[in-house]
Structure formats: structure tokens, C-alpha cells
């Protein structure tokens, strides 16, 4: 039992990464959150309520789908898709918001705030807030408000207030800054639902725990379908929540290779990308130490990606640790390659993936042919492409 993976430590450290790096006003609410989380994550009643929501509201378990035609076409590994796109609201994000919202309710918080990039986490938060009758404010960079307008409309329909953030680069990192400023101002009644495995402890561990339902199901489903563990896992990495959700239950299974796919934007060599693990360096942002995209002076660099959900200069601290220890491998996929992945899955399997997930598809197209036909590759299909229809149509010169 001794060499079992058991990160983080009780102060949220994954080796040198993670931790709690916040202004003093946030220390008490973070401590309060940590105590509530430690208590309820082991409370059978809480878990039962969570499981019920995941089954009847989210629609779990999500299928593990054998993409037979695509596997044949690529001529290598058998490709299985973990269908998080079929969840209520269309992505993996709801696994986490359902969990955190139940915590918020237990803690007596009446107001929910969230940051969002692609809008999927915002929608998943607005959805659960509507269901629980909680006030909801979502911060979203002004650039993202423009490129994900469909999701902005969905959030508003659900009764959330969407605040367009005009500071800095007007994308996900600035939305996170603004959400932190809101939290510091309204600590007494407000619960901040962070949408990925970033932020101060306990968020990276807590979001991982809520998302790891993906990997637990996938493991069982894979053994049922193939009689054994998969050989490789592939997932896109923005903050890293869908990836860690798939990876975590497999960390102690040494034979299972894990590939996290970052967004290379125009290409890592151009500097216009969102790939901190591949091309960044350790630093501190948004409450934790991790790999970041920053310059020699420690100023955060603007990121670029075709997908709003991967357009973030940091990454969850646990991925930083898995990279350094070599347990997971981090690769990157350009905008152009991601589009190839997008079209391939759409035309081969009749499944339109989110642009974020398309990065994982594109990497699988490189990896699968290097594997043998009796090997199994699981790709996390983290979300569906509906939200990206406008972006895609525009690229094709079509007005909707």
C-alpha cells in the first residue's frame, strides 16, 4: 500500500506544486471550504445524493463507445470514446458543478459565482444554480463572450448574470481574476465554483475527485468491453479537469500510458499558444504553483487557441507533478490539426466534438496508428461541438 499514489499532502501540495497562494481575506473561506469538503466527501449521505444527481440529472454513466470505423481507418489501436458529450449540458463540466453546488447548499451559501472560458462551465453552473434556486453570477472574458455567444444566451436563459470582463487579455484568466475579486468582496454568502483543477487547495483535489467518476466508469467499462485495462488514455488539457478525471483512477496502473494534449494555437514555436506544460515554466498564479506561460519578469503572457476552453496560461498543479514525475506525457496540437480532428470524428463516426476535445482527437490520430490492433486507446470526448457551430461556420465562410 505504501507506494500507492496519494497526492496531494494535507496543505494541497503535489511535490513543489499546488498549495494556497491567496490574499488574506480568502484564507478563512478557503479553510471553511476545505473543512466542509473533507467532511462531506466521506459522508455516505452526501455521496448518495451526489450519485443520484449524477445518474438522474446528468445522465451517467456515460457510454464508452467503440469507434470501430475510425479505428479501422486509422489502422492501429481500437479507439474508445468516453462520451462526456452526452452529459446534460453537453460536457464533463457538470460532473463538478453538481458536486460543488451540493457542497454550497450544505454550507448554507446562497450565491454562486463562476468563471468560464468556452461557456461550458458557466452553463453547467447556471444550470445547477437554477435547479437549486441559487443566485448565480458568471464572469467571462469579453473576447470569449463574443466567440461563444450561444452559451452566453444559454446562461442568461437559465437566470444567471453574465459579466463580460474587460481587463487584461479579456479571456479565461481575466475572468478568474474577476471571480476572485467578487469572492473577496462577498465571502460571507458566496460559494465560488471553480471550473477546473486550478485555484488554491482544496480546489485542484476537490474538482479532481468530482471529475474522477469519468475514469472510474471508463475503467469498469473498458474491462467489460475488452477484458482488460486500456493501453493508453488521451485527453485535452486546458486547466486539466477532464484529463485528470480520466487519468486519476489509472495512476497506479503502471501499464496504462496517459497523454494530455495542450493547445499549440499557431504552433508552440510561434509563441502564440496555450501550452504551459510543453513550453512554460513553474510560477504562481490563481492560488497555486504550477507551470505557467510567463515572461522573464514573471508577467503572464497572452495565450492563443482556437478553443476558448483551452485558452488559459496555467494548468492544474497535479498535471505539473505528473509531468515532472513522467507518469503522464504532455503533447500539443495546433489549431489546424485540431480542425482535422474535428472533421475526422464528425465524418467518420457522426459525432461532432467540441473544439477543445478535437485536440484530443487530433493527437489520437497520430498515436493510434503507432499502436497495434489489439491495443486499446481511450479518448475523453469531453464535450459536444454545438457551442462551436458559429465559429466553424464563420471559418467556412458561412453565415448562420
Amino acid at each position: 500500500m505504501n507506494n500507492k499514489y496519494n497526492m496531494p499532502d494535507d496543505r494541497g501540495h503535489f511535490g513543489p506544486y499546488g498549495g494556497i497562494f491567496v490574499a488574506e481575506t480568502l484564507m478563512p473561506p478557503i479553510q471553511e471550504l476545505n473543512e466542509a469538503y473533507q467532511r462531506y466527501i466521506n459522508d455516505p449521505e452526501f455521496i448518495a445524493e451526489l450519485d443520484k444527481d449524477l445518474k438522474y440529472y446528468v445522465g451517467r454513466p456515460s457510454p464508452l463507445y467503440h469507434a470501430e470505423r475510425w479505428s479501422r481507418e486509422l489502422g492501429g489501436a481500437q479507439i474508445y470514446l468516453k462520451r462526456e458529450d452526452l452529459n446534460h449540458t453537453g460536457s464533463h463540466k457538470i460532473n463538478n458543478t453538481v458536486g460543488q453546488a451540493l457542497l454550497a447548499k450544505r454550507m448554507g451559501k446562497t450565491r454562486i459565482i463562476a468563471e468560464t472560458g468556452a461557456g461550458q462551465h458557466g452553463v453547467a453552473t447556471a444550470t445547477i444554480a437554477a435547479r437549486l434556486g441559487l443566485e448565480c453570477v458568471v464572469y467571462m472574458g469579453a473576447v470569449d463572450v463574443a466567440r461563444q455567444s450561444l452559451n452566453v444566451y444559454r446562461m442568461k436563459l437559465l437566470g444567471a448574470k453574465v459579466v463580460a470582463v474587460e481587463s487584461g487579455s479579456k479571456t479565461l484568466k481575466d475572468a478568474l481574476n474577476e471571480a476572485l475579486r467578487d469572492w473577496v468582496t462577498n465571502v460571507d454568502n458566496t460559494f465560488y465554483i471553480i471550473g477546473t483543477v486550478a485555484g488554491p487547495h482544496p480546489y485542484p483535489a476537490m474538482v479532481r475527485d468530482f471529475q474522477s467518476i469519468i475514469g472510474r466508469e471508463a475503467k469498469e467499462q473498458c474491462i467489460e468491453a475488452t477484458g482488460r485495462l486500456p493501453d493508453a488514455l488521451v485527453a485535452c488539457v486546458g486547466g486539466g479537469s477532464n484529463a485528470i478525471g480520466l487519468f486519476y483512477p489509472f495512476i497506479d496502473d503502471a501499464s496504462v500510458k496517459m497523454y494530455g494534449v495542450e493547445a499549440a494555437g499557431d504552433g508552440v514555436a510561434t509563441g502564440r499558444h496555450s501550452a504551459p506544460l510543453c513550453a512554460g515554466r513553474p510560477g504562481v498564479l490563481h492560488g497555486n504553483r504550477t507551470y505557467l506561460m510567463c515572461d522573464d519578469d514573471g508577467e503572464i503572457i497572452e495565450t492563443h487557441s482556437i478553443s476558448a476552453g483551452l485558452d488559459y496560461p496555467g494548468v492544474g498543479p497535479e498535471h505539473a507533478w505528473l509531468k515532472d514525475t513522467g507518469r503522464a506525457t504532455y503533447v500539443n496540437i495546433t489549431d489546424t490539426e485540431a480542425l482535422e480532428g474535428f472533421y475526422a470524428l464528425t465524418r467518420m463516426e457522426g459525432i461532432i466534438p467540441a473544439l477543445e476535445s478535437s485536440h484530443a482527437m487530433a493527437y489520437a490520430m497520430k498515436l493510434a496508428p503507432t499502436m497495434s490492433k489489439d491495443e486499446t486507446l481511450i479518448i475523453n470526448l469531453s464535450g459536444r461541438g454545438d457551442k462551436d457551430m458559429q465559429t466553424m461556420a464563420k471559418r467556412e465562410g458561412i453565415e448562420l
Binding site: E24, T25, N177, H286, I300
Partner: protein
Amino acid sequence: MSRLASTFEELAKTGRKALIPFITAGDPTPNFTVPMMHAMVKAGVDVIELGIPFSDPMADGPVIQRASERALAHKMSLRRTLELVIEFRKTDDKTPVVLMGYLNPIEAMGYEDFANAAQRADIDGVLTVDLPPEEGSECSALLKARGIDPIFLLAPNSTDERVQKMDLAGSGYIYYVSLKGVTGAGHLNITDVENKLKQIKAHTNLPIAIGFGVKDAQTAQAIANVGDGVVIGSALISKVEANLDNPEQASKEIIELLVSIRQALDN
């Protein structure tokens, strides 16, 4: 004894309160900063807090955020902030200077290199907003070894236990954040501050400077009375912002405000 300790001791002897202006280094341009620091000393300030511009100032309101953006547009950085202090020190080796900012620029430089550079620049204190004592012991030890005070924050929701923690971890002074919110917020409540200061003073002998949301002489006076000093930032930077095409006017208005606060504090 550190410059900060002796400054507060001197003030206490004469029954005066510390006036501590905060400006962002390099805002609106790098040339503005050092003359402004000297002018503020002349106007009677006791300590200068100099903000290190950062791309993602999470604890700051819009006024200081924009100050950071203006400074960064002129390529201001931690390194260049330290150079400004070296220039300031050429003609002022008395006024304590405290650097205030976020951790990542310090991480990028490396803790030891930063501590050495801060010592060379004759910095007196360092306040890193997003570095609580739990994570800050390594950096604090390097600073203390060089006679630089690590300064920590306390907030309206800080428990007794945290006050004791800051008392042990910090030196120079403690910065009390007078409200739950970001810098420049508008909902300061003096009675709340007064009650909280009683609780804090029961657990520490360090001087307490109070900041966030102090906008005018009257508030400054009321606030300073319950602590040992008052920090005024956004209200000064607003003057910079209102006079971007006329930095001399900005400087003049900043000095007028500081002089009025000095008079109010000394009355």
C-alpha cells in the same frame, strides 16, 4: 533596528500616525515615479509603498489594475522597480520603502536573487499579497537575513489564530485590510475597523497600518486614530488617471491630498 521599526517608534514617541502613500512603479511613465516619491516625502509622508506592476492583480480594484496596465505598457517590471528605488536612494537614505506586489515576478527572479537585489536597492519591507505565511517561510527567511521586513496582511475575517501567526511571521508593521473587498472599494466602516483593531492589538505589538478604501482626509484621520498609520493608494492613483496628459497636474493634486491628510492626522 530596521528603518521601519525606528520610524514607527519615533512616531509613537511623538504621538503621531504614519502616513503611507501607495503608488504603482512606472505609472503613468517610469520617469514619473522617483520625483513623485521625493515630493511625497517633502509633503510629510513617513513610509512609501511602491507597487510592483503585475499582469494579473487579483486583489486590486479597477484603479490599481489600470495603473499596472499603464506601467506594463512602458515595460515596467520588478527589476526596473528596484532600479527606481536605487535612484530614489541616491538622495534619500531615510524614508522607508516597502515593495508591494504579487508573487510571480519574485518567483521568476528567484527568491535568493530577489532578496539580494532588494538588499542592494536598500528596500525596507516586502509585502507579497498572494503569499500567506504558510507558503512564505522560505522567502521571509531570506529577506529577514538581509534586514528586510516581511509584511503580512490581516483582514476583517482573520481569526485570533491568524493574528498570532502574522505576529510571528511578520515584522516592520502589519497591513490591516479594512474591508472585505479589493483596493479602492467604497464600503469602509470605521466602527468595524475600530472593533477589529482591538482584537488584533490584543495579540500583537507590531504597528498596524490600515488601508483599502481610504479616500479623503476625514476618513484617514478617523482610521488612523484606531491604528498606527494609514495607507492611501487608489485615491492617489485616481489623480494620475485623471491627468494622463498632464503629469505635473497629477503630481500637484497628489501632493495637495497628502498635505491635507497630513494636517488632519497631526491635528
